[in-house]
């Protein structure tokens, strides 16, 4: 019985310490949201914490909606979003007494990607739309080999999908035959392992060794075309805070848009603001 009592005691002590820990922790910033933003959110957070060791930043993913939800519920300090907050989300936030404020932290563009062995280099918006709506099903119709096209898309609720839907699909439905993957990285994996595949992904995820980016209407996805909006699929990446930020949150956001912070944005393959 002694052993049992000891175990119970140890459990009690450990539990108490866990609960107590929350009380005297350092100031904590939590970032929650889009998987697209996570890579540079994380590396900037790491860099920021090196400069300000007293601050803790945790980064969690799950999607733009998740970030918005967390901000509405007041469980995160920053919502990272690859799309603008929807009106219903903003309404919900207001109803909960929160006031979402938008910060543009980086620029991005979505590019169509194919397997490196694919000879196709450029597609028009119309061709892309037809491929994704299921009207074009063979690569030879767009100047490729006589092979079927494996269409790979993203979840209908992801920010990346929304941009694609708005700028390329223009309201047409994606064919239900399209494969759907749950995240940007999974899309890269899927396209890299499939010679027939076409997908679309944020510029930051394009890795020349694994997948090949196509140009749209002759416009390559590059930082310049993205910033200037020359490529139709360019978009801004956002972080939302509750009210105008102060303290460490402001410091972090300032760091993120500073040249130092933007270096990390560039290193992760995204497009800097300037």
């Amino acid at each position: 019985m002694k052993m049992l009592s000891m175990v119970v005691l140890c459990f009690a002590v450990l539990t108490a310490s866990l609960f107590a820990g929350a009380a005297f922790g350092a100031e904590e910033i939590s970032i929650n949201g889009s998987t697209t933003i996570l890579p540079f959110a994380q590396s900037t957070a790491e860099a920021f914490m090196k400069i300000n060791p007293s601050t803790r930043i945790s980064v969690s993913g799950g999607g733009s909606g998740n970030g918005a939800k967390a901000l509405i519920d007041g469980v995160t300090s920053i919502a990272a979003m690859s799309r603008e907050m929807k009106s219903e989300e903003a309404d919900a936030a207001k109803a909960n007494g929160r006031n979402p404020v938008k910060h543009i932290v980086a620029v991005d563009c979505i590019v169509p990607v194919v397997h490196p062995s694919n000879p196709v280099k450029d597609l028009t918006t119309g061709q892309l739309r037809d491929i994704y709506s299921g009207k074009i099903t063979n690569w030879k119709e767009v100047g490729g080999p006589d092979k079927k096209i494996a269409v790979i898309g993203r979840d209908t609720s992801s920010g990346t999908y929304e941009v694609w839907n708005e700028k390329i699909m223009k309201g047409e439905q994606v064919t239900p035959r399209a494969l759907i993957v749950a995240s940007s990285g999974a899309l890269v994996q899927a396209v890299a392992g499939n010679t027939l595949a076409i997908g679309y992904d944020s510029l930051g995820y394009v890795n020349e060794k694994l997948i090949k980016a196509l140009s749209i209407e002759g416009v390559q996805g590059t930082p310049d075309t993205a910033r200037s909006g020359k490529i139709v699929t360019s978009r801004n990446l956002f972080m939302y805070t509750n009210g105008n930020p102060g303290g460490d949150i402001k410091k972090y956001l300032d760091f993120l848009v500073s040249d130092d912070g933007q270096r990390y944005v560039a290193r992760e393959g995204f497009v800097t603001l300037k």
């Binding site: 049992l4 866990l18 922790g25 590396s43 969690s60 799950g62 995240s183 999974a186 890299a192």
Partner: protein
Amino acid sequence: MKDTDHETRGEALLSALDNSGDACPIRPNYAVFRKFADWLATFLLCSSMIFVTVVLCAILFFLAAKGGGALSWEFVTEPPRNGMTEGGIITPIVGTLQLIFVSMCFAFPVGVVTAVYFNEYARGGTLKKSLRLAMRSLASIPSVVLGLFGLAFFCTFLRFGTSLLSAGLTLGCMVLPTIVTASETALANVPQDYRDAAYALGATEWQTIYGVVLPSAFPGIITGGILSVGRVAGETAPIMFTGAVFFAPGFARGVFDSVMALPYHVYVLATAGTNIEKTTPLQYGTILVLLAVVLGISMVGMAARSRLRKDVL
């Protein structure tokens, strides 16, 4: 055995017994067919087991070969750095341990008490029946549905947020039935004589349970606990929405912090890195560590169980 002799004899016997009917047809070809069928079935059953063993070994060897190179002291003692492309995985390792701890804090005591209730106190009736039904239903619920429940109840309704506490409790709900079943078996294996002896000495019901029954069932209960810990360590779906995060700067220092967890980290590395080439060795390394944790804990449980069985028998 070749035996026309016996066949005729069998017929003679038959006519002695009864004049109607023929003997059972003993066709030589049919006997060959039976032998062949027997051989074939044996062969197929053996090869099914060999097939499964080979599949398991192939999986384990493949992962070990791919991930072995990534393993190093630094890998298991350093936090992830540089957008997960460098560094180690100490944060998710510790996070998984913390999740195990929190879930067990809830599930173990409640599970054992429930088993005590079933075995020592319950007198049949509706209450026991509905609790039994609840436990079995709980055991059958898909883990992702438990995740939804955790999100709606712990995170949103109780305002725990996406935190260690929410995720741990969700996992706790998941393994509760396992612990109850294991503890019940352990309690049922305590001989009635022990209880009778305690009662004969004038012990009260509670004294008997606390002083005699629980201590003798303790090894069995612990074994069940260890085996369920293995399950907690490997689950992803229930913690995806309730507490596991993509990246945390350090260990959770309180139950309201969010955590990184090994299985979720595997998922993240496999599906969300910008730099898949660089993270590939880390992916395999993480999988290997996850396997080591899950299988290690489970094997400890299995070893304890087989020792226990030997003691009992």
